[in-house]
């Protein structure tokens, strides 16, 4: 299954997941060589506090061309939630 971002680029679910994990890894000190998966918890495992999660908005916008609103970001619990949030905002083929 493929979906289209706001600039018309096509993405697969796996492609979105890999891109999101790269973004999350870049924002998580010490996680460069540690496994990050959908089930990885943003707050408990990565240690992001309530506001730190807002930092993903910009790289998601520039890399995946999807605008996430802050209310959705504040409710995220896992990397999988973030993948799902991005995917759900892409247009179905």
């Amino acid at each position: 299954m493929r979906r289209k971002d706001e600039r018309g680029h096509w993405w697969t679910d796996g492609g979105v997941e890999r891109a999101v994990i790269r973004i999350v890894r870049a924002l998580s000190p010490g996680w460069a060589r540690r496994p990050i998966a959908r089930r990885t918890r943003l707050h408990t495992d990565l240690g992001w506090d309530e506001w730190y999660v807002l930092r993903v908005a910009k790289p998601v916008r520039t890399t995946l061309h999807v605008a996430l609103d802050d209310r959705a970001l504040l409710s995220l619990r896992t990397v999988g939630d973030l993948v799902g949030s991005v995917w759900s905002r892409m247009a179905a083929a």
């Binding site: 959908r38 408990t44 240690g47 506001w51 609103d69 409710s75 619990r77 896992t78 999988g80 939630d81």
Partner: protein
């Protein structure tokens, strides 16, 4: 001498985060941890989030369990100490949201001058790389004799320094966050606040310090807690505070131990 025969703390809350604990963080997507593969999971976010903790003064304060401590003094009636806060959050725009809060530092064991009741409304704007909050808070002492309304503007960087907003490293679960602000109400009061959290397994500790510049004098207030998660949102918590807090800025301090419960929910 007061003998503490009974200490019972009721912890409600925490939005977010203890963050060290799953039970504290934002609720809407909480159930999605086990269905992370569902693409639209995050879109189920509810419109309102209710967060209950020690106070609404900061994310850390909301992680601190709200506490109710009962103390008995040689056959006299029980004395109580209450520290609690509740926060209601809703989205306003893609990069902004609204928070409404109530808080109380009360209880019969506290002199009225050291009690405080507050209500506030504030707007957050995400201006990456900083987060800005503007709001208005009403504070009253125990007799509602000293009241204070103040508009506030404060900001914090989202990240960028070691441990700022995220663990220092996977092995050291220590993080901190600074806030700088100004309040207007009965004069202009610049203030700074810093909160630090340390988590290890079921144990978490937090320290929050706030300093105000009031009439040329520097005043400070420090509060901290050490909590052990017993089960779910139930904690055993030791907490303490010292210094001068608004609205009266009278000196005071206390240490308490109790059980607590923390909760975050959405609707």
């Amino acid at each position: 001498m007061r003998a503490r025969a009974l200490a019972l703390a009721l912890l409600l809350g925490a939005p977010a985060a203890a963050q060290g604990q799953d039970t504290t963080r934002a609720a809407p997507a909480a159930d999605s941890a086990h269905r992370a593969s569902a693409p639209a999971a995050a879109d189920t976010a509810r419109r309102w989030a209710l967060l209950i903790g020690h106070s609404y003064s900061s994310a850390r304060a909301l992680l601190q369990p709200a506490t109710l401590v009962l103390e008995q003094e040689h056959g006299a009636p029980l004395y109580s100490v209450v520290d609690a806060g509740a926060l209601l959050r809703s989205s306003l725009a893609p990069r902004a949201w609204l928070e409404l809060g109530l808080r109380a530092r009360a209880g019969s064991a506290r002199p009225p001058g050291l009690r405080a009741y507050g209500a506030m409304a504030r707007l957050f704007a995400d201006l990456d790389p900083v987060l800005v909050a503007g709001g208005y808070e009403y504070l009253a002492d125990g007799h509602f004799a000293a009241t204070q309304g103040a508009a506030t503007v404060e900001l914090t960087p989202l990240g960028g320094a070691p441990g700022l907003g995220t663990w220092v490293s996977p092995a050291l679960h220590l993080r901190w966050r600074p806030w700088l602000g100004v309040s207007w109400g009965g004069g202009v009061r610049p203030y700074a606040r810093a909160a630090a959290e340390l988590a290890s397994g079921r144990v978490e500790a937090g320290l929050e310090a706030t300093g105000w510049l009031v009439g040329g004098n520097a005043l400070g207030f420090v509060q901290g807690d050490v909590s052990v998660q017993l089960v779910g949102g139930l904690f055993l918590t030791a907490s303490g505070e010292a210094g001068r807090a608004p609205p009266r800025f009278e000196p005071g301090g206390r240490i308490g131990l109790g059980l607590g419960f923390r909760l975050a929910t959405a609707f």
